[in-house]
Amino acid sequence: MNTQLKTTSLHQWHTDAGANMADFGGFDMPLWYETGVKNEHLAVLKSAGIFDTSHMACIFVGGKDAFALLNYCFTRQLSSLEPGRCVYGAFLDKQGRCIDDAIVYKFSDTRFMVCVNAGMGGVIAKHLGSQKQAMDLEISDLSGKVAKMDIQGKNSAKILSRLIKNPGLVFGKMPYFSFKGSLSHGALSEGTNQEGVTLLDGTPVLLSRSGYTGEFGFEIFLDPAVILSLWKDTLIAGVPFGITACGLGARDSLRTGACLPLSHQDIGPWKFSNHPWEFALPYTLDKKGFTKNFLGAKALAPSKDDNFIYPFVGQTLRKVTAGDTTRVLDETRENIGRVLSCATDMGIGLLGNKIVSINTPGLPLDLKITGISCGFVMVSKPLEPGAKLTLNEGKRSIDVTIATDIRPDRTARMKLDTFI
C-alpha cells in the first residue's frame, strides 16, 4: 500500500476480509471482496449490500447567509427545499465547468450540510469561501470527521429496522431524498428538529434516503468511532437477507446502470450542460432560462463548439476501456468523441430489443440475464436516442446504441412502505 493514501475507519476490516484494494480519490479503498463484483452487484439488486463511503467528505455551512451563498454556488434551486430534504446538484466555476457534484442537506434556513466526493471537502470549502465576500456565515470542512456507510437494496429498511430505535417512526414519511437525525457532536449535532435517529445503543446517526446505486436504500452518516460496530452489526442483522459487503467495483457498475454520473469522469472541468443530468440545473419549465442566477450560469448558454454527453447501451456484456484509447465511431466511421464511462451492468439483459432487469416483473423463465455493457460518451454533435455507434479500441469493437436510460425497474424512488 502506498503510504501516501488515506484510509477510512473500516480499512482494517476491508483488508481482513481479503478485499482487493486500490487508490480512489486518494483513499485506499476496496474494489471488491472475495464475493466478487458480479455477486456484489446482484446482491444489491436482489436484496441488500453495504458500502464504505467514508472517503466522501462533508462540509457544514451555517449562518444567516448560508442559504444565499449555497443558492448562488449550487446548481439546484434551494429556495423550495424544505428542512429534512436533500437535493443533488453541482458546484460550477465561472466558466460553467463542474468542480464537483454534491448533495445539499437542509437542516434549517441557516444550517446546511454538503456531501461531496473523496478529497473534495477542502476544495469545495475553499471554493465556497472564495465566493463568500461579506456574507455572514461559517464554512467548516468536516473531512475525516464524519464517516458514512450506504445500505442499498430492497431489504435495506428491513435490515436497518433491526439496528435503530423506533424504526416505525423513523421510516414513517421518509420519501426519496429526505433525511432524519443528526450526529453526536460538532456542527451537525442539532439535527432538523424532527425526531432523531439513534442506534439501539443510543448513538445518534444521520439517516438519508438516498444512495448511488439507483436502488432503494439509505446513506448513514455517523461518528467515525462507531462505524465499525454498525458495519459489523449490519452484516449480522443482514444474514437472513443475504446482505453482502460491496466494493467500489459494484458501486460503479450499479451507478452506471442507474444512469448516474461519476464526478471527474462523466462530469468534470468542462461545460456542465448537454448531458443526461440537466435535472440538476434550475431550468425554467420552457427550458429557455434559469429560475435563479448562479455561479457559472452565463457560461452554460449554447455555443457552436458544444459537446454532448449521452448514455449508451451495448448488446452483450462486452465492454471497452473508458478514456482516450477508445474511439467513438458514428455510422460513417468518423471518430466523434470519447468514452467517459463503460461498465457492465450484470443485472440487465435483452428480451428481444428491450432491456430488462432481473427485477423486471413477468420475465420468461428461460431468459438468461448475463449483463450488458453501458456507460456515457461525450460526442461533438447532437445524437438522437437509438443512434448507433461503434466503440473501437484497437482490434476490439462493440456496437452500442444511444439511450435515454439504462437499467429499468429500479427501486430507488419507490414508496418506502413497499419495502417493510
Partner: protein, 132 residues
C-alpha cells in the same frame, strides 16, 4: 491482489512472459492462463476464443479475456492449429479464476514444432520473473 507466495504455480506446465501456460500431453498442447494472470485480471466475465481449425503462429493474439476490471488479450506460446476450445467457458468463464490449470484451460493446439516449448519458462524461472 494476492501475494505471489499465495498463488498456485503448477509444476507440470511451461509459462510465457505474458502469463499464459502450455502443457504437452501426447502430441497436443493445452493452453491457459496462470494463477498470477487470473488474479491480476480479477473476476472474469467473458472469454473470447478462436475457432477449431484456426492456425496461429507463436506470439499471435488468439483471443481475449474480459474481467470486471479490464480486457486483456491472450497470446499463443507456440505455433499450431486449434483442435479444441474449452466450451465450458461460454457459460462459466469464472472457471479461469477458480481452476486455471484444469477446468479453466482455454484451447488445445496441435503444435507445429514441439521445440518451441523449450523457449518457455519452467516454474522456477517464471517465479523469478514475477518477483523481478
Amino acid at each position: 491482489m494476492k501475494e505471489i507466495s499465495d498463488l498456485n504455480f503448477s509444476e507440470n506446465v511451461k509459462y510465457t512472459k505474458d502469463h499464459e501456460w502450455a502443457k504437452l500431453n501426447k502430441d497436443i498442447v493445452t493452453i491457459g492462463l496462470s494463477d498470477y494472470a487470473q488474479d491480476q485480471l480479477g473476476e472474469i466475465v467473458f472469454v473470447e476464443l478462436p475457432e477449431v481449425g484456426d492456425i496461429f503462429t507463436k506470439g499471435d493474439e488468439f483471443g481475449s479475456v474480459e474481467s470486471v476490471k479490464a480486457v486483456s488479450e491472450v497470446y499463443l506460446p507456440i505455433s499450431g492449429e486449434v483442435v479444441e476450445i474449452n466450451g465450458a467457458l461460454e457459460d462459466n468463464p469464472e472457471l479461469v479464476n477458480e481452476d486455471c490449470y484444469e477446468g479453466g484451460w482455454l484451447i488445445r493446439l496441435k503444435p507445429d514444432n514441439l521445440l518451441e516449448l523449450d523457449d518457455l519458462m519452467d516454474k522456477a524461472a517464471y517465479l523469478d520473473m514475477l518477483k523481478g
